[in-house]
């Protein structure tokens, strides 16, 4: 409970108190004005004072009460006619008649209000106008007061005004002038009373209530304000004021007509202008406005219609440009009021703001929903757990992300719907680039232990069955002597074959070991993004409870049936479910059929094996030589067939070509061939990768490789952004760089399927017929005929062509990125000397992966890839590149991002003993190559520039998105 004595509420300020005193002096002066002011000026002052009265009443009604009426002329006329009626017909003294007129105005305003209050807003306004018209028409019927043509005040009535005699004597003026003086005093009195009354009213709690009603009538009602009664009270007051003024004005004019007394121009239009221009909602405004109108009237009224048009235009302009009017501007600029009504709480902890400073109206922040549209306030940002990056899915993409982020020291949580990792062999070809990533993570050796090495992978056999005739063979995965060199030269790592069941635990194990928090049996449900990050709702399937995880960024790696991409509405190109395929896992000892031709894949060309699936029957080695997976297709339009183990085993035996062999089917699963890639990989703070954004058949063996490299591309960027060293726009480059790759591999994999069709054709397997017919057609190529020779050559050609599936080194290794995180060096892209899909072309052109060369560090062999990575930038330069080393140090300091520089050459930390770096660096000895944390070249310079620090810093800032 605060100490009450420390607080007080004040309305007045020093300035306002002074101003009020000044005003009192002014009023006193005005009282004595008739003594020294000319008659015409007195008449002008009369005009101003009566207009002030009308304006203050209208201001109270509309500016404070929110009741915009354009019918106040009803009461002016009413008051005028009532006054005339009382004076002429009842012989009442005009001064008393004025009071009586006021009473009449008050009285009649009640039933009028009853009627017009049934309308709202603008319709209320017109309603008041109609009411005024009704009054006009009615009074035009009143013959006693002249009907439609009106009447004038008889002179004896005029003379009977109290005080005329006294004034005539004191001021030594004629009767008419004396009347003017009395009218003036009455006007002054009326103005003072009206302003005083309004001011006093505003200082009471009812004044507060009126402001509340104006700001928000429903809220006012809900705190107990009787809004209807308040509005009625204000309306009656305004009517009374108008009636009093009306009676006074027309007594002064001494004649009346219905047109004039109920004139909408004189008693509403001008009043509106006064209030609006002077400053609506203030007490000072109407006074100023009246003075201005008077001035304008004086100077321009002669211009008749033009004057009126100008007034109209002025009112429009003020309304649109400065709706608070003149005094509103003064108040805003100087926080000065002559009639202050604001209650200030003065106390030890209640600062009074500087009201002259523009106040920023704070809009309540609108959280953004999944689709990007603003959400209503009900959405919460509550959560239970918090981390930097939330990863959905523990497959190759998710697992690799987790491992990489943990290796960079970024806190992350990975959730996985099932209780364990991959339970089917799935992906297996692990290409060199992926092995490089595993190498950086320090799990290359472990993976190699579990893998089947390159030399056992490469005898791609095309046969009628394993036991049957071998139709052709292709050396694959870099096993052909000429391709082997390519593969060996391209990377410090070797391609190998590891089923996903064995690889995932290694990756995820590494991730968890280095800090990833993994929750199994935790299912992703939904998420929302807001300004601070992402809040994902997940369900713990064990406890069957949902909870929320908040992360700064979320990685959606939830596979080919991703719901995250659905929820984000990521645009997808292509289709799913083009062909149907079944995987039959089995154990059988097939050594006798394959040990002499060791391979990962055996392709079976039999009748029926071209249906569905990838277009050919496959027997894939899972573990040499007893664990296998056979792939067989079905017609996707028929739906997956319901096979028993026996039937599956029969299919397998058929593919093997041995009906007696012991085959034990361990698992059967179905999948479809897809040809789909997301046009955009991310939305806001959610980044999708892996199968979720590129869905394709297993041909080319690119799936998990691409997924892991998606992760490798994104994670270093997340690291730098989370550390505050890079701008968030760096994250956009993930999509720019990886989406084209995704599209390329999806296209490539689907194309590889189509490449089987010609083989089937040439073998004659596509035409129908009995088994004998088919055998005959297949054997046709064995004939010594020219036709058969052509067929043999064709078959050869088509088999060779499958190198595009199995020796596609360029697609595996040759990604070149183009984005804002790659700074070009204005050299043209090097030409592809050979087929760019089949062959990897090493280059240091910005955007390409740094070429692998073996370097020597303390007599140990180290690859350029080994120097790079680990979440930092690397700058490679030659013996004369000391300038770059210094530049790197300075740029590091400036950007706070680690740029490790290496000079390569004799006498340097790193020696180029084979001379391969000099040959492949493509820059001069004093040049440099800047390598990004993902091993791709970010920039290079041919030689030492004039300002290496400036240039390098500029490049870094560009890559980091900070310029």
């Amino acid at each position: 409970m605060p100490e009450m004595s420390q607080y007080q509420v004040a309305k007045s300020t020093r300035a306002s108190t002074i101003a009020l005193l000044v005003l009192v002096v002014v009023i006193a002066t005005l009282v004595f004005a008739p003594a020294f002011v000319s008659r015409s000026l007195l008449q002008d002052l009369f005009f101003v004072l009566t207009m002030v009265v009308l304006a203050q009443c209208w201001n109270l009604l509309a500016g404070y009460g929110g009741l915009v009426s354009i019918g106040q002329q009803a009461y002016v006329g009413l008051g005028a006619y009532a006054g005339f009626g009382f004076a002429i017909l009842l012989g009442v003294n005009p001064l008393v008649a004025i009071l009586a007129a006021g009473a009449i105005g008050a009285l009649l305003s009640v039933p009028t209000a009853y009627i017009v209050f049934r309308l709202q807003g603008a319709y209320f306004a017109i309603g008041t106008w109609v009411a005024a018209e009704v009054y006009r028409l009615l009074f035009a019927q009143w013959k006693a007061l002249g009907g439609g043509t009106g009447t004038s005040l008889p002179s004896e009535v005029a003379r009977s005004v109290w005080g005329v005699g006294w004034v005539r004597e004191v001021f030594d003026v004629k009767s008419s002038a004396a009347r003017d003086i009395i009218s003036y005093w009455v006007a002054l009195l009326l103005a003072v009373i009206v302003i005083g009354a309004i001011y006093a009213f505003l200082r009471t709690r009812n004044g507060l209530a009126l402001s509340a009603i104006r700001d928000n009538p429903d809220a006012a009602e809900s705190i107990g304000v009787d809004t209807s009664r308040a509005k009625l009270a204000v309306y009656i007051f305004a009517a009374t004021g108008a009636a009093l003024a009306g009676a006074l004005i027309y007594f002064q004019k001494a004649s009346i007509t219905p047109q004039s007394a109920f004139s909408v121009i004189d008693w509403t239009a001008f009043v509106l202008f006064i209030v609006v221009i002077g400053g609506i909602g203030t007490l000072e405004g109407p006074i100023i406005g009246a003075l201005i109108l008077f001035a304008l009237q004086n100077w321009f009224a002669d211009y008749g219609t033009w004057y009126l048009m100008a007034l109209g235009a002025l009112a429009i302009a003020v309304m649109l440009v400065a709706p608070k009017g003149i005094w509103g501007w003064v108040q805003a600029k100087y926080d000065f009021s002559i009639f202050p009504t604001r209650r200030r709480l003065i106390g030890p902890d209640t600062p009074v703001p500087d009201y002259t400073q523009p106040v920023q109206e704070v809009k309540a922040p609108a959280p953004v929903g999944v689709s990007g549209a603003a959400l209503p306030n009900e959405v919460t940002t509550m959560f239970d757990i918090e981390t930097d990056v939330l990863i959905i899915g523990s497959g190759p993409a998710g697992g690799a992300s987790a491992a990489l982020l943990s290796s960079y020291g970024i806190p992350n949580i990975m959730i996985e719907k099932y209780g364990w990792l991959a339970n089917t062999p799935r992906a297996h070809i692990t290409n060199q680039r992926t092995m490089e990533v595993l190498r950086e993570l320090g799990i290359e050796e472990e993976a190699k232990e579990k893998s089947v090495p390159q030399e056992l992978m490469g005898n791609n056999v095309f046969c009628t069955s394993l036991a049957g005739e071998e139709i052709g063979r292709l050396l694959t995965w870099g096993n052909h002597p000429s391709r082997k060199a390519d593969y060996d030269l391209a990377s410090p790592c070797r391609i190998c074959d590891i089923p996903q069941t064995l690889l995932e635990p290694i990756i995820v194990g590494k991730a968890m070991e280095t800090g990833t928090v993994t929750r199994f049996k935790t299912e992703y449900v939904s998420h929302m993004q807001d300004a601070g990050g992402v809040v994902a709702t997940v369900r713990d399937r064990v406890a069957d409870q949902t909870y929320r995880i908040r992360a700064k960024y979320m990685i959606g790696a939830d596979g080919a049936r991703s719901i995250i991409t659905e929820q984000l509405g990521l645009p997808m190109e292509g289709e799913m479910g083009l062909e149907g395929s079944m995987n039959i896992e089995f154990t059988a000892d097939l050594g006798k059929y394959v040990a002499h031709r060791p391979s990962v894949l055996y392709w079976i060309f039999q009748p029926g094996s071209n249906i569905g699936g990838i277009g050919a029957g496959v027997i894939r080695m899972v573990r040499p030589w007893n664990k296998w997976l056979s792939i067989y297709g079905y017609d996707v339009n028929d739906g997956p067939p319901d096979l028993t183990s026996q039937e599956a085993a029969d299919i397998v035996r058929g593919l093997i070509g041995d009906q007696d062999i012991d085959v034990s089917v361990t698992k059967l699963s179905y999948w479809t061939v897809n040809n789909m890639v997301a046009s955009s990989y991310s939305k806001g703070r959610v980044f999708c990768m892996g199968d979720a954004v590129h869905r394709h058949p297993p041909t080319n063996g690119l799936g998990s490789n691409t997924s892991i490299q998606d992760a490798y591309n994104l994670c270093w960027k997340l690291k730098l952004v989370l550390e505050g060293k890079a701008d968030e726009s760096l994250l956009d480059t993930y999509n720019e760089e990886r989406q084209p790759v995704g599209r390329q591999i999806v296209t490539r994999a689907n194309k590889s399927i189509q490449d089987y069709a010609p083989i089937f054709e040439t073998l004659g397997l596509l035409q129908p017929g009995s088994p004998d017919d088919i055998k005959r057609r297949m054997d046709a190529r064995k004939e010594p005929t020219v036709e058969a020779d052509a067929r043999r050559k064709a078959l050869n050609k088509y088999f060779r062509h499958k190198s595009y599936e199995f020796n596609c080194h360029g697609v595996e290794m040759g990604q070149r990125y183009a984005s804002r995180a790659v700074v070009p060096d204005n050299t043209p892209e090097p030409e592809y000397a050979r087929d760019r899909e089949l062959y990897y072309h090493a280059t240091t052109w910005p955007g390409a992966r740094i070429p692998h060369v073996w370097l020597d560090v303390d007599q140990a062999k180290v690859s350029t890839l080994d120097l790079a990575g680990r979440g930092r930038f690397v700058l490679l330069t030659g013996v004369s590149g000391a300038g770059w080393v210094e530049a790197a140090a300075r740029a590091s300091a400036e950007t706070e991002v680690d740029v490790r520089a290496y000079q390569i050459g004799p006498g340097c930390e790193v020696n180029d003993t084979f001379g391969d770096w000099a040959m492949q660096s493509e820059v001069s000895d004093s040049g440099c190559v800047l390598v990004r944390p993902d091993g791709h070249v970010g920039w290079r310079a041919q030689s030492l520039s004039a300002e290496p620090t400036v240039d390098l810093t500029r490049v870094m800032q560009t890559i980091l998105g900070r310029r």
């Binding site: 009450m4 509420v9 209530a209 902890d349 109206e361 009900e378 940002t381």
Partner: protein, 238 residues
């Protein structure tokens, strides 16, 4: 019983917002209300405050039938309410906002209510902003102002409508503390909220409403875990 609702019914055409609702609120209790959007929660509040007239049924405040009483009467009788989307009197200062509520809700003059107003501002942490125009307040401050205004009317029954939405964790904690303090001071609270953990920290009883009907009532945790309620939330979050 402070508030008794008997068979309340209200529909807008085909949309039923109150489907034969009956509910009792004991004096001094803290009751929570949850339910999906459009379930009829705010409409229930509108029916209680009188902004909405029921098609059928009764509402009794402390035994007196207020079913047809106008909004103002109910405010004077002791029902205070904060709006879900804050409705400050934007051109008036915070102090004036609370002052007008105190004068008209509780019924005194400005001078009489001054101490009460300062106390309310203090309890809702708005004293530093007392002289700021309400239009310049942040979201949390506006929500506090909603509460302050409702409190100023010296309510016996305080209806809070989704007052925690959009706040940070720290802000939410501070709000919870204030509400707890108000409740322990003797004011009965009925609170609609989506931020369920805030609700559960304060209320001793919970109702769940869906399609204008009460689908769960009782111990807060039990109601939240009930099948019916989890169904709705699952549907909400997807």
């Amino acid at each position: 019983m402070l508030l008794e609702i008997r068979n309340l019914r209200r529909a807008f055409g085909a949309v039923v917002v109150a489907d034969d609702i009956s509910l009792d609120v004991a004096e001094g209790e803290a009751l929570g209300i949850v339910g999906p959007n459009g379930a009829g929660k705010s409409s229930l509040f509108n029916l209680i405050t009188g902004q909405l007239k029921p098609d059928g049924g009764n509402i009794l405040l402390d035994g007196a039938d207020i079913t047809n009483a106008p909004v103002r009467r109910r405010v004077h009788d002791g029902i205070g309410r904060s709006f879900q989307i804050p409705q400050p009197f934007e051109h008036m200062t915070t102090f004036e906002n609370v002052s007008v509520a105190a004068c008209f809700g509780a019924g005194g003059s400005e001078a009489e209510e001054q101490e009460h107003v300062i106390d309310v501002l203090h309890r809702t942490g708005l004293l530093p902003k007392a002289n700021m125009p309400a239009g310049s307040l942040s979201l949390l401050e506006r929500k506090r102002l909603e509460m302050a205004r409702a409190l100023a009317t010296k309510p016996r029954l305080l209806l809070l409508d989704e007052i925690a939405g959009g706040l940070t964790e720290a802000e939410c904690q501070s709000l919870i503390a204030t509400i707890q303090e108000i409740n322990s001071g003797g004011t009965t609270i009925v609170w609609i909220e989506h931020v369920t953990h805030a609700l559960l920290a304060v209320v001793s009883r919970l109702i769940a409403i869906d399609f204008g009907k009460i689908i769960g009532e009782g111990n807060p945790k039990a109601v939240m875990d009930s099948e019916a309620v989890r169904q709705i939330y699952l549907g909400m979050e997807a």
